[in-house]
Symmetry: C2
Subunit: 475 residues, 2 copies
């Protein structure tokens, strides 16, 4: 039975396709507690590649890794009013420890601002103690009513960077570095184009003065908030009393940022690139970049030829041979297609005799012939080309699916006919945003950095505006 046949078409019920492909490709499984997820080795290997690349960027910026506790006393979480209001509905609460009821309830961290900033207030005394640049890789819990593997789970993995600075401009630079770094990871590794921009008042992080986001567009025409970077101003440094004596001896509160990138990104990767045959992984994130599939794994001559190819690639390419002799050739090809392996080497007697490889490019389905004598060079070139091709496809999709609306009528027509991003002039107003959301399910996704500079008319009020915004329905 082909696993391909078990996969419903992506163009049908997307959520059905999504959960099926995640199961069939062995990316993840459901955990026993509601809304939790098991990240299986194949899915976790993708996350490990992301961690390795992003962690290197974080270290290069001079940010140190550390670890803060999972449990936050309720009283600590309540110190910043907007923050606790934003997270209160999503908290998991520990009431018993070591067989006894606790005097104070403990919250399982939904994010670590409060527990980290209590320490920052102890660590910062003088301008010499600044900046504080700390990141942690950990797990957080946000109780969710409706869950989807990777995209929305009660527990997820992420990094959260938390910095404290002497000046607001230094904090702003850090916040911008955060989103630019994330955008680079998304474009260079995920092959997912998107818009960097500011969130509206309604959509920003609970406790932030403003939030930068990277918004990507899924093939369904819905947007995905891929990661965020926050300017926390002095909203936390005041209640947590994180203050320092500046060079002139004056006491000041620090300026702060926080920024996070999570396993949600893997959900985006699946949605963005998958097709009716399963996953399509960009080579840079693929746990297996090349799978060698001999037609007959019982044929020792053929297997020997496959092993030579393997030896030529191994070390520079993540490569495996599929020798399962209880599965048909066709079944094995489908299996690796579902798993999204970028290059599938189909090796029969024809190939072995000619000293050739028939390599199927998973992304566009094209078969290419490679000479065994130059298999390493040709494979590296193919992988690089596939990575580029995937990013270009994503860029074209983003451009094609960003449409302009001059007024609310045009806005609603575009949403009905195409979805996608709708570009409008708009003066950020939470009451109007709520109206739009109630009537169309679309929200402002961001005020994209790359599209500002002109002048126009607010698409809702008709008043002058110089702010360009992107709206969309979203995950």
């Amino acid at each position: 039975m082909s696993s391909k046949k078990l996969l419903p078409p992506k163009t049908g019920d997307l959520s059905d396709w999504y959960t099926s492909v995640i199961a069939l490709a062995d990316l993840a499984d459901y955990g026993p507690a509601k809304g939790t997820m098991i990240i299986r080795p194949y899915g976790y290997a993708i996350w490990e590649r992301v961690v390795s690349e992003l962690d290197a960027e974080i270290k290069l910026k001079g940010v140190d890794n550390a670890y803060f506790p999972l449990f936050i006393p309720m009283s600590l979480l309540q110190k910043e009013a907007d923050h606790v209001e934003g997270f209160a509905p999503e908290l998991a609460v520990v009431t018993h420890g070591g067989g006894e009821e606790l005097e104070e309830k403990l919250v399982v961290r939904p994010t670590s601002e409060t527990i980290m900033y209590q320490s920052y207030s102890k660590w910062v005394q003088s301008w010499r103690d600044l900046p504080i640049l700390i990141n942690q890789w950990n797990n957080v819990v946000r109780w969710e009513k409706r869950t989807m593997p990777f995209l929305r789970t009660s527990e997820f993995l992420w990094q959260e960077g938390h910095t404290a600075h002497a000046t607001h401009s230094e904090a702003e630079e850090m916040q911008m570095w955060g989103i630019k770094t994330y955008a680079k990871i998304y474009r260079d590794f995920f092959a997912m184009d998107g818009y960097e921009g500011y969130k509206s008042k309604s959509e920003r992080f609970a406790g932030a003065d403003n939030t930068l986001t990277y918004e990507s567009l899924m093939p369904s025409g819905k947007a995905l908030q891929a990661c965020t970077s926050h300017d926390l101003g002095q909203n936390f440094s005041r209640p947590f009393d994180i203050s320092f004596q500046d060079k002139e001896g004056v006491m000041q509160n620090v300026w702060q940022t926080s920024w996070g990138f999570s396993t949600r990104s893997i959900g985006g990767l699946v949605l963005a690139h998958g097709d009716d045959n399963g996953l399509r992984l960009p080579p840079k994130l693929a746990p297996i970049q090349v799978i060698i599939v001999p037609v007959k794994p019982q044929d020792s001559g053929l297997v020997e030829y496959c092993k030579k190819l393997y030896d030529a690639l191994n070390g520079q390419v993540r490569v495996k041979i599929d020798m399962r002799d209880d599965e048909s050739f066709g079944y094995r090809l489908n299996k690796w297609e579902v798993k999204g392996v970028p290059l599938i080497f189909k090796i029969g007697n024809k190939e072995a005799e000619a000293g050739q490889v028939t390599a199927k490019r998973r992304f566009d389905g094209i078969d290419v012939a490679i000479d065994a004598s130059e298999v390493l060079t040709a494979t590296l070139a193919q992988l690089s080309d596939i990575q580029d091709t995937m990013l270009k496809a994503s860029q074209q999709h983003l451009m094609a699916e960003t449409r302009e609306a001059k007024n609310y009528a045009e806005f609603k027509t575009i949403l009905k006919e195409h979805r996608g991003f709708i570009k409008v002039y708009w003066n950020d107003d939470p009451i109007i945003e709520k109206q739009i959301k109630d009537e169309t399910k679309a929200t402002s996704r961001c005020m994209p950095l790359s599209l500002q500079g002109g002048k126009g008319i607010d698409f809702m009020t008709g008043k002058p505006s110089k702010d360009v915004w992107l709206f969309a329905q979203s995950y």
Copy 2:
């Protein structure tokens, strides 16, 4: 004020010294919830090095990383009777999520056997699905009444490997690989010698048929259980129904192992090598291997000389320059001594003019003169020699502090006069072990693999025995 002066002597109240050095060296801080700990960047950088080395060994063995949920439904934990009995007193329990009381209480994982094995039972059908070799790096919670940073905290970081095999002998090989790999990490990176051996019936893991441990000896003469590797037999595969059809078509239960290495090891590192002046870090784990300390950071000529040394080392050695001009030379030297940096370069005009470096070896306090022209070669040689010297010192300490007792009277005398490991012939008996523990606070630490083979007389009963055991008081 010198941070050295704030440090009480190690030979005095050891626990006072221990908590002081952890604070003064910026390794860790207390978390706000009872028994929790903040691992600060300097401490976390040590852990990151351990993770990187151990993870490479784990991958080399063909074990894949994955991630399982933090929350375990209470009913799942209760499936293996010994296991739940062992962990029940230490559980943290989530009773509320998303503002509502949960139908079923969730346990914050104290270890992941139960949640992982429920999945294994779904994933394993045939002998072709075996072995399952999965590891995860995560946080676990065990509610502790008496806590100490790193050594015993309510939450700690670790890796837990969990494998399932078709045969018992394959599982035994895996269990042994676990402890041998840990021992290698301890000896080669922590420079901490110890004994690999089996735990007694009273001391083994809740749910295991037997437990292999690595037991190291602290300068106080108390033992530290550094990590463990368990043969779980079929104790979990029966209640969790992890079964497979073997090649002959017969249904069988799998054989399992689990093995874990935690941040507790950092506590061992501090205790094992620290002295009255603070930490002494082995070069392979030191976040900073060389600190360059100019006598006068205001002297631009001197700073230029330091930067040349830095450039010569950077990339191959983890090196920093301390340019704080608000701290005296002596204060800065003490600061880096407390932090245990293996080589401290003291650079004054004398050194700059002579094209020399005065390098203080933190471990033995010896000053060595290095020519600036060959600073890289000489530094690498010193670091390598310090690493070797530290391991040798640990080996000698272990040998000198392992004493033989023929009977209980000798046993008690040794314990009173020296502590350390006491080597005895003994036939493992939980009732007798309890008596010894009640009377002397010592427990069996392990039946060391390296000391078996002879014949003797059980030190408690006078009966013949061929099992050599090590007893000690422990952390």
